[in-house]
Amino acid sequence: MNPAIAVFSHSEPLTLGVELELQLLSPRDFDLTRGATDLLGSIDYDGHCGAIKLEITESMIEVSTLPQRQVDGIAADLLGLRQVLVRDCARNHIVVCGGGTHPFHHWPDRRICPGERFDEMSHRYGYLAKQFTVFGQHIHVGCTSGDEAIWLTQALGPYVPIFIALSASSPYVDGVDTLFQSARLNAVSAFPLSGQCPELRDWAGFIEHFSFLQSCGIARSIKDLYWDIRPKPEFGTVEIRVCDTPLTVERAAALAALAQSLVHHLLRTRPRLDAQGHLQVARYNKFQACRYGFDAQISDPVGRRQIPLRTLARELLILLAEDARVLGCWPWLELLDAALITGVSDADWLRGRQARHGNLNDVVCAAARRFSSTASEAVAGRSR
């Protein structure tokens, strides 16, 4: 057993961390370009807002915030990281952009980044490694113990469709409208250990399960578990991994606010979990959210009925209002509520641009402008 997995690091409860995988584009035609290694080598940055790292292919770059107690801190870090990236990308004739998939890139053109881990992934997963040029947001929430992380991994499970719908920004793949709101997760599902965490009692149960996977030669490290929600022992967090990278950093911060408020609420109320029941409907509900977004019909294994996702999400935000106010992140949840009221997700926004321009190059150009735009910083500044 890897010692890093056996020991669950201490972390301050409810602290947040956000990772965003971002697209690197050519300003000529807004197709993906290669350049992550050189970009990273040329960046003049002291790490005061978090880290900037390589991802699997040269057309991706990952930013991660510092651990923060408040969502405002996450927003400030993301704005700072965006500023650094936009500036340094321009110095290298690259444009940076959000969104869960690049609408029209040709995946065989992608190039695996140098590095032992990426080489190993490429060798192990073959063409899936290049097709994994999709862009997600991961949200970490600090846990006091491994037991708490495992409980939260399962308690958060039923809310996965809401996170998917609120972040959905990947309607196009290979130049085609997939009719999905989030097509990114279809690329993730190809990996053998993707999906839901099995029913586990506690941290000891997780260790037992992971040891089993290791001894069968299925998993070597925690990174092999592509679960929708997983514990992250080296950080001392539970990690929500189903979100597309939104088109703006403000939406990314708002999703972090949802995660923090939800975890606060769950830990406060400690509801009784029906992990078995949830696991039976989890894949269906996830498909519904990916395919239909706000218009999905979510199966309730307890009430044996279907509920519109939009209703569920709005009820959840009302339920979390008190927790969010305690945490000082209610204004961020209002941003999500506004999206639910108008019914316009990032995926819808991209489709609207396609209807206006009639070509995907202009759609990506508009998305890149939106990501880099400082117009909405006032929203973040207000709550800072």
Partner: protein, 424 residues
């Protein structure tokens, strides 16, 4: 040579003509289309063979085919045939120059001042060292030394573009090679126009030539380029972006610009380059930004480099000129590498050197430019410009390989995918 081979056929044909009145006279020259297709096949075969057996860029094969079958060696392509096929070579060079102009994004220089420093350094140092070498070492008079510098200071846009396309290169070294190639080409065109004036001032009996001819070249090129770019944008705006119709509009206006420039004796390479730059700078709605040239431009490129290979003045070769050309290329290489190593704009030292190596090619533009200047006063121009022409001849063969080497070592080509990362 061909006339000996065809003599029996000619005799038989003329015998038949007495009985079969519909027969045309025995054709003395190849039909231009037949010549086009023959050059295409020969260039293609040699290029593909070199690529498959030695891994060399195809461009080298095209040039070798032209040299081998041209007037200098086997003589299968005559000087008259070269003149016949010249419009196609002009169109090919023009389309490639249009493309390099379209790729010139001046906003990059605004965002990265170090790149501006690097490019100014590279242009100044290249011109100065070549001029000094040609004047002080070779002993050319200042006017011809300046002409030699104008012709050879820039990289070869056509070679760079084709090598990048052929190797599927993408990355920072590739982008910078394209940028510096485009900028040095722009600078060399300005110097070229000035040198035209200087040469007239030296030899013309009427001073007006020294003033009006450079203006004719620059202003004429600008007007044609602006007009064609406007027409292209106006018509393309009526069509769906990235549609085949837009590709046709782009290609058609480019060919119209080539034809107009030829009619008005304005250099085609300059006009089309300017048209590309104007398209890049004025296309705010991105009407044509996403429209790529058809793959067919490779066919034209083959003809271009076969013609360039056949145009090289190998019969005039002497060991002294050969040595002088190597010396010129040596100082030119040092100037380019030193300037780019000095200011890298964010790249590591090793990759800056690779950019310097990648911009070494010297080719079609230089040859065509040399013939433009030499054509002003043919009796003296040809001999005075044999130095840059031989330098270009050497680099026709070495340049594509150097450019490819830089891209491969940078780890930015498709072939180098297995070797992770190239030079860090």
């Amino acid at each position: 040579m061909f006339s000996h081979l065809t003599m029996p056929v000619r005799v038989a044909w003329e015998d038949l003509q007495e009985r079969l009145f519909f027969l045309p006279p025995f054709p003395d020259e190849l039909d231009p289309l037949a010549l086009f297709s023959m050059l295409l096949v020969v260039g293609l075969l040699v290029g593909e063979w070199l690529r498959a057996t030695l891994g060399w860029p195809k461009v080298i094969g095209y040039v070798l085919a032209g040299t081998l079958f041209g007037p200098s060696v086997l003589g299968w392509i005559s000087i008259e045939a070269l003149a016949q096929i010249r419009p196609i070579a002009d169109a090919a060079l023009g389309i490639l120059m249009l493309e390099i102009g379209r790729r010139l994004d001046l906003r990059w220089l605004r965002d990265n001042h170090e790149l501006l420093r690097a490019t100014l350094g590279e242009i100044t140092l290249s011109f100065a060292t070549i001029f000094l070498f040609a004047w002080a070492v070779v002993g050319l008079i200042p006017a011809w030394a300046a002409a030699a510098a104008a012709v050879t200071m820039a990289s070869a846009p056509a070679v760079v573009l084709l090598t990048v396309e052929e190797s599927g290169a993408q990355g920072q070294v590739t982008e910078r090679i394209i940028l510096h190639t485009a900028l040095s080409a722009a600078a060399s065109f300005v110097v070229f126009a000035v040198v035209v004036g200087v040469v007239h001032a030296e030899y013309s009996e009427h001073w007006a030539n020294a003033v009006v001819h450079p203006l004719w070249v620059v202003v004429g090129g600008l007007i044609i380029a602006w007009l064609m770019a406007r027409i292209a944008l106006l018509v393309a705006a009526l069509l769906p972006k990235r549609s085949l119709a837009q590709v046709f509009i782009l290609a058609a206006t480019a060919l119209l610009a080539v034809g107009t420039a030829r009619m008005l004796a304005v250099p085609v390479f300059l006009t089309l380059f300017l048209m590309g730059v104007i398209l890049s700078c004025t296309d705010r709605q991105k009407t044509l930004s996403y429209t790529h040239l058809p793959e067919g431009h490779w066919l034209l490129a083959i003809i271009l480099f076969v013609v360039v290979g056949a145009s090289l003045p190998w019969p005039d070769f002497t060991w002294l000129i050969g040595l002088q050309a190597i010396g010129l290329l040596g100082v030119r290489a040092l100037a380019k590498i030193a300037a780019l190593a000095w200011a890298g704009g964010g790249l590591t030292g090793a990759k800056r050197v690779l950019v310097g190596i990648g911009i070494q090619p010297l080719s079609a533009t230089a040859v065509f430019m040399a013939y433009e200047i030499a054509g002003l006063y043919p009796e003296i121009g040809r001999s005075s410009l044999s130095l840059p022409l031989f330098a270009a001849a050497i680099m026709e063969l070495v340049g594509p390989a150097l450019c490819r080497l830089a891209l491969v070592r940078a780890g930015e080509t498709v072939d180098t995918e297995k070797s992770t990362g190239g030079v860090a």
